[in-house]
Amino acid sequence: MKLSKAFKLLIGVSAIAVGTVAFAQDTDIERASLVVHDKNPFPSTYQPWPSQMTAITNAHILTGDGGEIESGTVLMDGGKIVAVGTGVSIPAGANVIDGTGKWVTPGIIDMHSHMGIWTDGGNDVRAANTAGMWGEHSVWPQTPNFPAALAAGVTTQMQLPGSANQFGGRSVTLKMVPGRTTEDLKFPGAPYGIKMACGENPRRVHQAQGRPSTAMGVFYGYRSSWIDATEYKNSWDKYYADYEAGEDPKAPKRDLKNETLMGVLNGEVLIEQHCYRADEMVNVINMSKEFDYKVTAFHHVVEAYKIADILAENDICAGMWADWWGFKLESFDGIDENIPMMAAAGGCAVVHSDSDNGGQRLNQEAAKAWADGKRVGLDFTHGEVFQWLTLNAAKAIGLDDVVGSLTAGKNADVVIWNGDPLSVYALAENVFIDGAMHYDRDNQDNQWITDNALGYVTAGDHQ
């Protein structure tokens, strides 16, 4: 059921809701207008903040994609990285920041945060499959913790619904910038993800709701949902094919839940799946093959080390804590060398937070994992370790072509640290997003306070 290129393009045009589209070849038939649902009904209104051409010189640079430059320059202009290296010539008029003694990295990307969603609960347990819910509608842009994450060098967060449901809802990717609306914080062009959850959480929560409460019950729920979603996709594919063939088909009834899952089957929505145990992850991978979709990332993968080769082979990123374990049975086998063992297998290892506190020290968490790996012979360079916080995290949320490394042409999300960021003593001094300085540790006028915190705190109090 191949659609013509032009037709695909048409479907892809986001702004057409239920519009009228006339087809030249069908002038002799009066047909209902083509139904195309907008894939982006809540578009980002983010605009980069004013910035000036800036060069950070003589800095110790971790490029975010594994590279390390002991003394170099990062040049940014127009919100983008222009050049990174040792022989960068600085154009006249550039604002020059002397980075002597400082370390410069890309902004940290937290692939798993609930910071903006928890204020609304984050879990809507009315059904085991709530794939039709969109996390962004629970985000509170005045969440007072956003500035704390920014001050810790975090520039991008994927916000996710909770893990109570088999399908929790859509993720939304945010920039750590002030805004009046959630759309003001939304990362333009970021793909959606669907939060899925394995294991104890959906079992425990839905047992209380009288729904399947075993792992087999959860997988039964998943597979039934994928069967429905596949039928839904087929009905839309047929509708568009029939329409293209000149017929006058009736559009299928819109269903938000299946629309999200159809997005997965069409390769547009990423699978972001909470899963602790190795055996369950392999079940999920097999299920993705059964229904022909791709798992982009597992989250909270405390047992990545048991199947690091399988995760690497299947090109699935693993979001991990450095050393969390034991807080529930399915986390009991978590080990401190999990992240380096995943990385050593050639896999996409990511340090994530799932915690408003932990999300303020992701650099330290990476450092812990690095040191623990080193003790068992798995050593990595500073540059490689920082990739766990940047480029790999960007890949896990589908933004590795725009952020995650100090690469010419990418967004200028840059952090200046007062020392080696793989240290407990390191603090982010300046944080740039799209070239604009959004945080300055030494200047309270350049420290964001959300509406909620205003009048309670002064700048810097919480940082």
């Binding site: 080390y305 034991g326 529930k328 086998d333 060398e337 303020q360 407990v424 915190a453 109090d461």
Partner: protein
Amino acid sequence: MRYLFIIAAFMISPAFAQTIAITGGTVHTGTGAPIENGTVLIENGKIVAVGMGIRIEEDARIINASGKHVTPGIISSSSTYGLSEGAGGKYGSDTSGNDSGMTASFDVKYALNSASVVIQEGRRQGVTRAVSSPTSSGDIFSGSSALITMDNKTDMNFAEGPMHAKFGNASNRAVAWNRIRAIFDQTLDYDRNKSRAMRGQSQHYLLSFADMDALVPVLNGDKKLVLEMGSEAEIREAIQLKADYGLDLIIQGAQEAWKVASELVAADIPVIIHPQDNLLGNVTMAGTTFSNAARIEAAGVKFSIMSGNGSLYYGHHVLQFAGMAVAHGMTHDGAIRAITINAAEIFGMDDVAGSLEVGKDADVVVWDGDPLEVTSNTDHVIVRGVEYDLVSRRTLLRDRYLNLDRGDHFGKRYQGQ
């Protein structure tokens, strides 16, 4: 039978009798400035010498700590060590009196599991003593904690812990203070009129006799009370509570202690803080800040650092949080004291632990770098004079999977060897 006991004592005695000399390291004694190239000498489970130029017997076991750091064993001021072995299952967690009807009378000591792999793990990470605390009972008083050694020994419960109370378990602050005071007044009344109470001639009490029995020593000043709360207003009221009832009070949480620092010093109230407690979670406690530690240190408040609620499996995280406190202005020496001697003093175990001083139990850790640095790890852990392998269930799992070649790591079993 007696003969067997003698043999058993003989068999374990060499470990205690062993003389261990830790030489060449930077020794953080917990009492003063670090000693470079210092020696810590251990005999019969005790510290017998600390300093430079110490004579070492020929038969002593030498641990060369040159280029390394030596500290007292780390003390976890708030943990569930020995009480929780992975959540889930009826006996997975023994931390709470919830649903039992018990509040103050709940005492964790009966449930301590000396075989806990969580203790083994904490020890591997450098924690040698801990306050093993009850979690919420659902009411204000949670019950008594136990002071434990982290050596998986059946006598690990070496002292009674304090009484614990959680302010947040009341529906609001006014209820909390009124209820605490009413319970105290009733407990005093009960204690004075116990025989009448036993005959059923007393007023109606909010708590059971057993709960009040557990509170009597608190009101006599014989048992410490750890009160969990943190805003400036709450701390001020707690200071008044101490004055009114003559309590031996410790405040845990104390997020806004920096606002009341001089009053805390004057009232001789130590606090237990979580240095990373910086988020605006509660608008009546908006002064949460990373710099709480540095500010109360400067003001002279006695405090220890805990690893925080929600991270009860990570007693060793106090090292990281102490390091973060340093990043935000605390002194390095002070931060080490906050996770060793200060905790020992606050919980009344400084006669045996908390510092590298002659006569104390030999709880000693050798680190491969700055102990507060996140990239540092333990090289040697000694609890009560006995050195333990740095092995835990988690390192065994690691070793099993370090090489994913199936034949290599499971092969011996599959091949029946």
